[in-house]
């Protein structure tokens, strides 16, 4: 995800990464990762600390002062067989939520013009 600063509120963190700030640390599903002192202060979490603790790459573009926080590195891309939330746009820019197809079998086919 693209960031223009390296702190965010716990609400924003949860909305954008699925990780919730709790007294025991950062939690997602049944997993909690302790957050070291200084990882959260004054109502904001430090994205640098979060990235380090969760094994997420944080890359920077100095000239434009932007960062991208990547996915958690680990064993497999899919942590479970459940299709992750995916919303993509059509050519007119209208968003389409793949979860709206629950109840049907779905084949997702990636292609490219090149």
């Amino acid at each position: 995800m693209i960031l223009d600063r390296l702190d965010m509120t716990p609400d924003e963190l949860e909305r954008r990464t699925g990780w919730e700030l709790k007294p025991e640390g950062l939690c997602k599903d049944d997993r909690c990762v302790p957050l070291p002192a200084g990882g959260a202060a004054d109502g904001l979490v430090d994205v640098t600390v979060v990235a380090e603790r969760l094994g997420m790459p944080l890359v920077h573009d100095e000239r434009h002062d932007l960062w991208a926080l990547g996915p958690e590195a680990g064993d497999r891309v899919l942590a479970s067989a459940e299709l992750p939330p995916i919303v993509l746009a059509d050519v007119e820019g209208r968003p389409f939520d793949l979860s709206s197809l629950r109840g049907e079998k779905v084949l997702i086919a990636a292609w490219a013009s090149w």
């Binding site: 995800m1 693209i2 094994g55 997420m56 790459p57 944080l58 890359v59 573009d61 000239r63 434009h64 932007l66 960062w67 991208a68 926080l69 990547g70 996915p71 958690e72 590195a73 680990g74 064993d75 497999r76 891309v77 899919l78 942590a79 479970s80 067989a81 459940e82 299709l83 992750p84 995916i86 993509l88 746009a89 059509d90 050519v91 820019g93 389409f96 793949l98 979860s99 197809l101 629950r102 109840g103 049907e104 079998k105 779905v106 084949l107 997702i108 086919a109 990636a110 292609w111 490219a112 013009s113 090149w114």
Partner: protein, 237 residues
Amino acid sequence: MALPVWQQLRTELHPQGLEIVTVALDLEVDAARSWIERSGADHPQLVDTAHRLDELLGIVNVPTALWVDENGMIVRPPHTAAVERYDFSKLKTPKGLPDDLDAHIRDMLEQVKRIPRFDADHYVEALRDWVEHGAASEYALTPEEVVQGSASRSPEVAEAAAEFELGQHLHHAGHVESARAHFRAAHRLQPENWTYKRNAWELVSPGIQGPSDFYDGDWLSDIKAAGPEHYYAPPDF
């Protein structure tokens, strides 16, 4: 281009409960637009300019498909989706090209001919079997098999996703030069990801994705280095 084939399959199998969603892994919506508009498809046709599918699902080349059941559970992780019947044996270079370009394209076609082709009929049979029998189909995998069959996400692969995301963001903001540095980083970190490479090459060398001042690789050099036989992961059906 497989879009008409997906539409045919959709027409056949939608009455039995299959929806098809095509996703163009194109940096520029306009590059995909005319293909999409001409396809006449009834199903959702989306464009993933940021390559979210690479990050979230481990896609590295096209055509790639995955199957999802009625409950939103993946039953076939991303796999090479062979639905087109190719005959590349008669491929020829267009007439009247300058000598150096002619030689380059000739060389590309030799590599294309050595890319393995997979059994489209068998793939479509497997798909029909799953649509009819669901979880009882031998082609539907268990959740554990799906997770194990998904791509690995090393620290380098995760970082490549972040670099590509930053690159495409800068590209779309008009910072084309800054974007290239991040595309280069993504290529270095995940050389097996052809979508990251081909999208970037296409911007600077449309059509042939040839050598440029901006990227270390190009289609011809990279496929020779990787070996055309490794261009697609063989589908395991």
